[in-house]
């Protein structure tokens, strides 16, 4: 069984082929980061316009690299949400119609399920159940994963997603878009003792996240500082420490609350080194294990959509001819996929 996966939910065009025998055969990604950089954020109309130019050449490249012809494909999986509606439509319609003309199944995949299952693309995979921390520019989620499609959202962001808070704080410190990774880099030169930022929502029970206040705190600290390079680095350090510490506190709570001892980290912020280091320490203390997708599968990609589509196809879950994309879609609405 081979599944072609297509991801176009935001500003990355991703395509991959996953096979029951052989695993991931090929994958490719085209990132629009440079296209949107001059606007300081993703411009949805430009994202859609770029997907439609880039998607088909990527499909052709990936099929060829995978040594896969049309007759080898058993299904085409596409991201059906959540995400930008115009961007989603490009991948969903192209993928759905490709499947129809090949006479094979189509599978509508939940983007965040793709992220949840991305660690399954690595040599060492967690068994169910596990706790997933999904942290990206659009999401901050803690999810209890009891099987494919068996998800319980333990915590969610009530305002800015963690990656968004990184990018916005970077912007107010004068770093170029997308500033999150640059801010993390700058934090390495910062003095951790100089500023102490709050750990939002850790002084009360619960697993929800709120990061917009930290951004304001960073802005006020910057205004009151000398506004020089050292202040910038020290604020970056204090901000990153506060965010990472908050996530570690919430992960520890989730582990204690559920009794689960496996943790997976996914989403773009999952590439943050400080976060990985601290969660590694946490899982050592908790006598558990932490799993990560490789960095290129932390961010949006076609491989995770191909894999999630493969798991759904195994369970016989396919999409109708009518294409519907869902910009807002909870993981808890998904059906279990027990093959």
């Amino acid at each position: 069984m081979r599944v072609l996966g297509i991801e176009t939910s935001c500003d990355e065009t991703g395509v991959a082929v996953y096979a029951r025998d052989g695993g991931l055969l090929a994958h490719a990604l085209y990132s629009q980061v440079e296209l949107h950089a001059r606007y300081g954020g993703v411009v949805p109309e430009l994202a859609s316009r770029d997907h439609i130019r880039k998607l088909l050449p990527l499909v052709q490249d990936v099929m060829s690299e995978a040594g896969t012809g049309a007759s080898d494909i058993d299904g085409v999986a596409f991201t059906a949400g959540p995400g930008l509606v115009g961007a989603l439509l490009v991948g969903a319609l192209t993928g759905r119609c490709l499947a129809w003309s090949w006479g094979v199944s189509a599978i509508a995949v939940h983007h965040m399920e793709g992220h949840l299952l991305a660690p399954m693309l690595e040599p060492e995979t967690p068994g169910f159940p596990f706790i997933a921390l999904l942290v990206s520019g659009g999401h901050s989620l803690l999810v209890e994963v009891n099987g494919v499609g068996r998800y319980r959202v333990l915590g969610d962001s009530i305002d800015d997603a963690v990656g968004e808070a990184f990018d916005k704080t970077a912007k107010l410190l004068g770093l170029p878009y997308p500033g999150g990774p640059a801010l993390a880099q700058l934090a390495l030169q910062g003095n951790p003792e100089r500023f102490t930022f709050p750990r939002p929502m850790t002084d009360r029970p619960g697993l929800d996240f709120s990061f917009s206040g930290l951004k304001t705190f960073a802005l006020n600290t910057w205004r009151e500082s000398a506004q020089d390079d050292q202040a910038r680095a020290d604020i970056a350090r204090a901000f990153e420490e506060a965010v990472v510490d908050t996530m570690v506190i919430k992960c520890r709570r989730a582990l204690h609350q559920t009794g689960i001892r496996q943790l997976i980290i996914a989403g773009g912020v999952g590439a943050n080194q400080r976060l990985r280091e601290r969660l590694g320490q946490l899982m050592a203390e908790e006598d558990g294990r932490v799993f990560y997708p490789r960095p290129e599968f932390c961010t949006d990609n076609g491989a995770m959509i191909a894999y999630a589509g493969y798991r759904r196809l195994l369970a016989g879950q396919t999409a109708p001819l009518s294409v519907n994309v869902t910009p807002r879609w909870s993981l808890e609405e998904l059906d279990p996929a027990d093959a």
Binding site: L56, L98, W100, S322
Partner: protein, 227 residues
């Protein structure tokens, strides 16, 4: 012409698909704002099932490449890219304004059509078309997106005004056109039936493109503002 051609048009609030087989056309059509993604493939499937055809038995696929609703023209382009790559078909890109002109010519037997589609932001997509052989409209000048007060009106002749722009900006356009415009079809929508006819004409002239070249023509390209 002995040809089997599938055509789709989704650039406005209407959604349609048509199948041309050796001179005969079947069409599915619906006025269905924001339902195009859900409707278009079932329409296509029903046409092919009725004709007992597989996608690979088609000779080509034509689509309304715009201008029109950005999302609408991308729906058509995405559908066509998927089917054309999957079935190994050449693609024919047809102007949505030309299809509207062809519809007006088909319905009224007149020769000249001034097409104006509401482009929002106080602008219209504008094209001047004149029927040539086989009722195929030929573009005079260029298609443009502009304010209704700036469209390029013909100096003389007898014309029909077609498309939603003649509704939204009717008084301004009618005032500018004066007696040259003898009839208005403001409710006329571009249809796959006309995309099919124009597509067959283009196929005969070998005006085909590869699947990945099936991209929209938006006309409006300044869609983002720098901070």
């Amino acid at each position: 012409m002995a040809i089997r051609l599938l055509a789709i048009e989704t650039a406005t609030a209407a959604c349609s698909a048509a199948l041309y087989i050796d001179g005969e056309i079947q069409e599915r059509h619906a006025f269905a704002p924001r339902q195009h993604a859900a409707l278009v493939l079932p329409m296509i499937e029903s046409l092919l099932v009725e004709a007992d055809l597989k996608p690979g038995q088609l000779d080509a696929i034509a689509f309304g490449r715009g201008p029109g609703s950005f999302t609408g023209v991308r729906i058509a382009a995405s559908v066509v890219q998927g089917i054309a790559l999957g079935a190994g078909l050449p693609v024919i890109a047809v102007s949505t304004l030309a299809a509207l002109a062809a519809g007006a010519i088909r319905e009224t037997e007149t020769q000249g059509v001034l097409v104006a589609l509401d482009a929002r932001m106080e602008e219209v997509y504008w094209g001047r078309y004149v029927a040539v052989t086989n009722r195929v409209p030929a573009l005079q000048g260029e298609e443009a997106v502009c304010k209704p007060e700036c469209v390029h009106m013909p100096a003389d002749g007898i014309w029909i005004g077609a498309g939603s722009g003649w509704d939204s900006y009717g008084s301004m356009l009618v005032e500018r056109a004066g007696e040259r415009v003898v009839r208005l079809l403001p409710d006329l929508e571009p249809r796959a039936l006309d995309i099919a006819n124009l597509g067959v004409d283009k196929f005969g002239r070998n005006e085909v493109i590869a699947p990945e070249a099936a991209v929209p023509v938006y006309l409006r390209d300044n869609v983002a503002r720098e901070p």
